[in-house]
């Protein structure tokens, strides 16, 4: 809103003043939202980092076991071992509202509840390392889901924080100063108009008095 585009009228002034009030309130609210989002985000991101390190370490260990197992087994044997999985995981997704960001919450159900009953193969033709790898993965699965939850939440919240921050900055550095400038401009313009009207009236009064009493002519005569 450049200064040239506003019409300096009383109505416009009231309108902008009202808008400024709303903008100030919105700015305060958005700032609070941003601060709270940031606080929650930082907690979540720390948790995310820890979980990720833990999960990556576990998967690395599992992969090491698998690599060992593979060295002693043929490709076919491995494929056959994992052909018909015993276990099945289904996921239930609900959402939690964190400062108007819908973040997912995962809860999972497994078909067999017994953690030891997940091996989809008899032990006769497979290496023991394979069992170790699968067990390690099974152990870390709950953490992997937690990781998914917190990582997705982090991504969604990061996007929301970015958006909110932009809005706060736009209000703080562009919209509100512009409106303040406009208000100042209109007030000054109105004051100026008032003064010029005042002066005009004074002049008119002088002229009218002159007309009625002819002060100037009288002054000349007395001289």
């Amino acid at each position: 809103m450049a200064k040239g585009t506003v019409t300096p009228t009383r109505m416009e002034l009231t309108r902008i003043k009202r808008k400024l009030l709303t903008a100030r309130r919105g700015h305060k609210l958005l700032k609070d939202k941003r601060d709270e989002l940031m606080r929650q985000f930082l907690n979540l991101v720390r948790e995310n980092k820890e979980l990720r390190e833990k999960v990556e370490e576990a998967i690395r260990e599992a992969n090491r076991s698998f690599a060992l197992a593979r060295s002693g087994m043929s490709d076919e044997a491995v494929r056959v071992a994992f052909m018909t999985p015993k276990q099945e995981v289904t996921l239930d997704v609900t959402t939690r509202n964190v400062m108007s960001v819908e973040v997912p919450v995962y809860s999972y159900e497994t078909r067999t509840s017994d953690g030891a009953d997940i091996f989809s193969y008899g032990y006769a033709f497979t290496s023991g390392d394979l069992d170790a790898g699968v067990a390690r993965l099974q152990e870390i699965l709950p953490d992997m889901l937690k990781l998914a939850e917190s990582e997705k939440s982090c991504q969604l919240m990061a996007a929301e924080i970015e958006k909110t921050r932009r809005r706060v900055n736009a209000l703080e550095h562009v919209l509100i100063p512009d409106m303040e400038d406009n208000i100042k401009y209109i007030t000054m313009k109105l004051d100026e108009n008032e003064r010029s009207t005042q002066i005009r009236l004074m002049k008119v009064k002088d002229m009218m008095l002159e007309e009625a009493h002819h002060y100037k002519e009288k002054a000349e005569i007395t001289d």
């Binding site: 990720r52 990556e56 998967i59 992969n63 996921l91 999972y108 998914a148 991504q155």
Partner: protein, 107 residues
Amino acid sequence: MYKIAVMGDWDSIYGFAALGLACFRVEQGETEEAEKTLRRLAEQNYAVIYMTEALAAQLSAEIARYRTRPQPAIILIPGISGNTGEGLSAVKRSVEQAVGSDIIFGD
């Protein structure tokens, strides 16, 4: 009910098959197929997709598309060839996006 998928090369993901996660095998270099699979999974009810870092490096544009959507969550995991650190740097990017600079991992 939602499901969980794992995408990557066979050697990296077959262990997850035993846990009952749906494994989708994508070998090195099959980028186009991987993209198709990812899109298909995202449309179906897979809420979480674990993906090896090596595969994710090839699909970064596709993954960025799903970043701000509520579903699916695409989570990077290290593959058999080792950890490239891509997973952690994705978290780092989130921090940079939100805060403006990295204040968690700065070491």
